[in-house]
Amino acid sequence: MKRFAALIDRLIYTRSRNTKLALIADYLRGTPDPDRGWAIAALTESLDFPVVKSAMVRALLATRIDEELFRLSRHFVGDTAETAALLWPDALRRKQDDPSVSEAVAMLSAATRADAPLVVAGLLDRLDADGRYALLKLALGGMRVGVSARLAKQAFARAFAVDVDDVEEVWHAIPPPYAPIFAWGEGRAGRPDLAGTLFFRPFMLAHPLEAASVDLADYAAEWKWDGIRVQIVHGSGETRVYSRGGEEISGAFPELVAAFDQDAVIDGELLVRGDTQGGEAASFNALQQRLGRKSVSKKMLAEFPAFVRVYDLLAVDGEDLRGLPWQERRRRLEGFAPRLAASHLDLSQVIDARDWDDLAARRAGARDAAIEGVMLKRRDSPYVAGRRAGLWYKWKRDPLTADCVMMYAQRGNGRRASFYSDYTFGCWSDEGELLPVGKAYSGFTDEELKWLDNFVRNHTVARFGPVREVEKTLVLEVAFDSIHSSKRHKSGLAMRFPRIMRIRRDKPAEEADRVSSLREMAT
């Protein structure tokens, strides 16, 4: 547990992604099986011990420390696992008896509701404060060390010098502690054979379109939907839904799991049907209600019904189609479509544009809430993992813009820790009050950042902890992909992907936009 505890400790305080990768890669190389597999599963929140819950830990603590002192401490620390780790008395600790991660996992998995407190107490007694923190986080979940499944796989790829897409593919087919994957990484065995198992295929991704146009004879156009990219896999009576990073999200979308029963792998966009759109796809804002949940209530299912707009077919009836050109896959997909439950799975249409100008006109005219732009897919290209030059392009709609007034600023992270680089800005209400409409921390050049940082420092009127309130004099031209109504902000609006497009030193603050004109852009 010592090495794992040290790793968590470093990850907690490390903000740089690259350093995180190096730390995890080091750990994976230097730790034996099965410890490293369980550790990586814990970091990516892939473990669950149903009999160990924070109420149980609190009750356990009450046997060792006064409840009032625990309550006061918990209030100060703000986290049950950390409070318990710090408060658990270590006087009885036997020095040479550090339990391994796999021993802890085995004991926690075998524990019953009745003996779980004893098992946890027994482990805590063998650990120091850092070890106790690692154990409790492993047992309770909520690691919060900023390690996504994708980052873990990249760390694995770096540790063993293998291709991350190859890792991605085997990762989801093999359960923790992933011993066959490590054996492959270390060259002791071949890549695990996935025939007959359900697994995630790494997504093919698109580059932004930078050229003025492409030849539509070579490229097919489809709408770019503003949902989340999903892959649905079915086989041997089981269905799994994977999100962009290969995370399994089946639990959050039971209606999709129930609706897909064909032996196939489909690629598409997960969307929510909105009443306001006449039963069509609703904005990303509506979809957000369904994201980040482990399970979902009946009410959520009824209010925000999910469906998938399918645009690719990666495998069907045991045949891998990824090597086929797009046009052939498309033909197969259209032939396959009648096998889909239309209530939850429909086909994303190809845009039948006469020429480039026609396509541009249609793109400009599309104000559908769930349309984000146009995808251009090379007709003769196979389905390949990641972003490859020349194959797929995304051509987003031109952003919307608004002139807003800077209201607050906050310092950034990492390299930007000494710069005020996160800005909250607002627009005018009809009563002449400035209401926050969004927050942005990108879009400007390094030179502009220096200027903005200086502006904040020289025009601060109040400080609230790390936040500075500034004189309401600077107009920022803000670009954003869309704007939605939101209860979270006083203005009643929330922007999607706002960024600072220009600093409008020339424009007086009172000429900035009104909240009411932003509301007209809302979808």
């Binding site: 305080y13 903000r15 002192l69 100060f76 950390e82 710090l86 408060l87 404060a129 820790a417 000494s418």
Partner: protein, 278 residues
Amino acid sequence: MSLRYGVDAEATHNAAFAYQDGFERGGVRFSFHPAGHVLGSAQIAMEYAGERIVVTGDYKRRPDPTCVPFEVVPCDIFITEATFGLPVFRHPPTADEVAKLIAAVRAEPQRCVLVGAYALGKAQRVIAELRAAGWDAPIYIHGALERMCALYAGHGVELGELRLVSETEKGAMRGQIVLAPPSALNDRWSRRLPDPVTAMASGWMRVRQRARQRMVELPLVISDHADWDELTTTIAEVDPKESWITHGSEEGLLRWCELNQRKARALHLVGRDLEEEA
């Protein structure tokens, strides 16, 4: 005092006393006793009609190469600080934390480690502890630490070679230790350093979320305040008739006194009671 508060503070009622020494005023005998907090820090004992009250001010019990250790002064009423008056605060051995700091500098020789440390006391203690651990390279300091370090050196505290960051080339600080007041850690000033690892020397660093909030990469639990064990042991050793608890987590220490059948109250409540009586 004049360094910390400016020359005006020195103007009138200013006198220097040695430890154990004191004076009498209005029948009350005042004396000063080491608090072990920083150089020159003192507890104040007040005696009147056979009864003694001791005010600890800020104090700690663990060894500090820059100041005289805390002295247990038996008394009737013990007014104690409670900065770390919760049992989550147990400072690890200082030598371990200093070793962590040195290991971090050596692990990334192309960077420097920037340690946030209060200008009075903490900075000089960190320097002295580094010297004791064998770190004999020059230590680079923020201008705000210069005068206080000179004062300590003038009182015979060995700090070794100190250099001002403002007079040093950026590249020369790679693989070195830099000290600055906490306010400078994430400020523009730090841009002149070579890719600093941000460290902070404070008892608060014991709690991960606190350290994260301050954007600290290397938390060092080094404190000039008594931790939970020191606070409770000290009350037991002084063994007063009554403890008055102030300045920090009064509730936690108060609860400990209650559990150990020791008479105690929070000083802010005492103040309120007096107002009601008045």
